[in-house]
Amino acid sequence: MLGVLALGAAACGSDDSSGGGGALTMAIVAPSASDDLAFSQSMVDSVNALERDITLQVTDGTFIVEDAAAAIRGYAEDGVDVIVAHGTQFGASLAEIAPDFPDTTFIWGTATDTQGLDNVFAYAPAADEGGYVNGVVAAAISETGVIGVVGPVEAGDAVAYINGFVTAAEAGGATVNVTYTGSFGDVALAAEAAEAHLANNADVLTGTAQMVVGAVGVASDAGVPWFGTQSNQTSLDPNLVVASQVYHWEFILEEMLELRDNGTKGGQAFEINLANGGLIIEFNDGFDLSDDVKAAAEAAIEGIKDGSIDTGA
């Protein structure tokens, strides 16, 4: 079922000289709800954070790739300037659609290449970096030394986040149990995966993708700290969410739009990471984290930025 939202966005910075672009129509096609506190919301929040005059339309909940393809083509036929295909699984559709609309810029991710299309920009997060930082903190606060991870399917930024997390947590002396539930949307299964980790002595949990809201509920009931990724998940439990790796796509989106302003409609791949400010670790002030652990997290961030730490991804 397609959820279509039309949002008038980002009124700030309407002066062309500050934003450099002028009025622009953009659309996002996303696989889950635009307010999922995870993957889709990260892109909607980022476009809304751009300091440009943008009229934004969102088609979310496109679980079915064919639905997403229809929405992407529909926006292109309507003359939308920039279309964000927010999902790796939309790549094949984009390869068919993009050549038919050479004046439209398509932004596709998570992906590390543009499939050779000169009107497609690709984007990906270095999710392993935030995973690593979260893993450092998780190992430090775990008393049992066992940490549970709830993942969706073994693909995309979920794998990168989990691999980075496992590398750091194991280096910190923890045992990390990873469960891929096999679904991005099955909240009940994610909750039971979290229950299984608790039964196996885990006292810290993390997870990635939109179905983790179920796992956070289990963590809350058990009083177990939780680490988030993609969006800030503090609102799910203001006392137990320790930190979230937040995707700020706006930094690379602005670069892409500037390239478009200058006549380059695509053909380049971008990455958000800790060094370029696209990834930010947002700590929850409501969780009492010791200064030592915070310092270790900051050291890990700096180490990743200067290249002295290998996240293992």
Partner: protein
């Protein structure tokens, strides 16, 4: 593997199986009653989604869990009236009508969630109720007797549904209109009223299934059920249209799911074949269906609209 066979892990696995089985059991029992009257309802998932959302929204706004259960029941009844009118009185094709109900439920619950809630917000969950003495029995006390009232209700409904179908006049009417509606009609049984009542009961239980799911999780998301209602329909076939068989199917499905999750957590199932292992519940259930259900026939008039003309 030895880590799995410890008392704490086994107890946790059985508890997980019971939690996972509860929504399936409620929905399947309701669907069993409907199908025994000759009405297939493929809209169960849509009814579950609607009742789950309205139940969740009620808790969010009022904090009253039991009002939320009543609301879910009411949603089930309303959807039952709608489905009954469409299929019994308008004699519409049941398969297509059910799909329509499903699509409506999926879309409307999604729309309402966006309009009224937006970002997922956690709500309180149904509390566990310990049954005195029984809750302390080693191994089975925690998984069986420290559950929510909706879970107890789901399992209590198994013998009650059996009694309803096999030991009451109303149950005899349900079975007769499901097997031979013309004959039942000739004996003075109102096929329309009997089927309508069976649909109402079925949808009410689907409503409770939605409440059980969302109040167990304490949060709602669009498409929360992920097709649970369709699996519930399949479990009716698995259970050979008998409450005990349906319960067996729901428990098997929950137990395989729970075991797979435990094995993944313990590393018994390596990450490399994790996605493949996730198919195990469906494969086991289908395998059992092939072995068991071939010997049992569906109600003869299942999916066939009744008309005197």
């Amino acid at each position: 593997m030895s880590d799995f066979f410890t008392s704490s892990v086994l107890v946790a696995t059985f508890a997980s199986a019971i939690r996972l089985a509860t929504p399936y059991l409620l929905a399947s029992l309701g669907e069993t009653i409907g199908q025994r009257s000759g009405v297939l309802n493929l809209g169960v998932d849509g009814v579950m989604l609607l009742s789950a959302f309205f139940s969740y929204w009620t808790v969010l706004e009022t904090g009253n869990l039991w009002l939320a259960v009543v609301v879910a029941l009411a949603v089930g009844i309303i959807m039952g009236v709608l489905y009954g009118v469409i299929t019994v009185f308008f004699e519409a094709t049941q398969g297509i009508s059910g799909i329509g109900i499903f699509i409506f439920g999926l879309g409307f619950s999604d729309l309402m969630f966006r309009q009224q809630v937006g970002t997922p917000k956690p709500v309180q969950r149904l509390p566990s109720v310990e049954i005195p003495a029984l809750a302390d029995i080693p191994y089975i006390g925690e998984p069986l007797f420290q559950r929510s009232l909706l879970t107890y209700l789901a399992f209590a409904l198994v013998p009650l549904t059996f009694l309803l179908l096999n030991k009451t006049t109303f149950g005899l009417n349900i079975r007769s209109v499901g097997e031979n509606p013309q004959a039942a009609d000739s004996l003075g049984v109102s096929v329309e009223r009997t089927r309508f009542a069976a649909i109402m009961i079925g949808n009410s239980l689907a409503g409770l299934a939605g409440a059980a799911l969302v109040l167990q999780l304490g949060i709602f998301q669009p498409n929360l059920t992920q097709g649970m209602g369709f699996i519930a329909v399949a479990l009716v076939y698995f259970g050979a249209w008998r409450p005990l068989g349906v319960m067996g199917g729901a428990l098997l499905y929950g137990l395989v799911n729970a075991t797979v999750l435990q094995w993944k957590s313990l590393g018994i199932i390596p990450v490399s074949i994790s996605d493949l292992a996730g198919m195990a519940p469906a494969i086991v259930t289908i395998g059992a269906l092939i072995l068991l259900a071939r010997r049992v026939n569906a109600p003869s008039a299942l999916t066939k609209p009744f008309s005197r003309h």
